[in-house]
Symmetry: C2
Subunit: 105 residues, 2 copies
């Protein structure tokens, strides 16, 4: 799903990943994290795609909302598991969305 235009300024977290061979439990946890993110304060939406690499972009109202989500206990446990088992490499970027435009047929 693509997230439609939101009201700037807001924040995007770009999470780019390369996964390992052992993906036991990964999909369930990724889905659970997406559900859990939706319940958090300041959550605005999430977009996700994967083939050779994975890119998940989540959108948030403020930087404080991103910190709260980062420190969520269940999220922290999932992140630890991710580092231990599922991820070979990732890069996470926190960005302020300054402008946007869309196209739809």
């Amino acid at each position: 799903m693509i997230i439609d235009k939101l009201t700037t300024p807001y924040y995007a977290v770009i999470f780019s990943t390369i996964v390992s061979e052992d993906l036991d439990g990964y999909l369930e946890t990724a889905e659970r994290m997406e559900e859990l993110a939706k319940e958090q304060k300041g959550y605005l939406g999430i977009e996700s795609a994967r083939n050779k690499i994975g890119i998940t972009v989540s959108y948030w109202q403020t930087l404080d909302d991103i910190v709260l989500w980062k420190n969520n206990i269940e999220h922290t446990e999932a992140r630890n598991l991710g580092r231990e088992k599922w991820y070979k490499k990732y890069q996470l970027r926190i960005c302020k969305v300054e402008s946007e435009y869309g196209f739809e047929k």
Copy 2:
């Protein structure tokens, strides 16, 4: 490919797409645009993933570099073709990357 840590501040363009059924010429043009982007002033890197939706994130030194790339003639022609033929819907967000961290095994 995942782009490693860059020096903040810099800019990200998050381009989220839903493609149509007619993808004739799409892949070649997408690849050509990626090659062309790499030659532009201020280009820092590109990350791309696709399954249900496509997400391409390109990284740039300044907002001016993004405007120059937007106005590149060959890019403009490709964008017009994209709107006409390949894209059902897209959203493009211009963001300032404020912080980032990475993990690698």
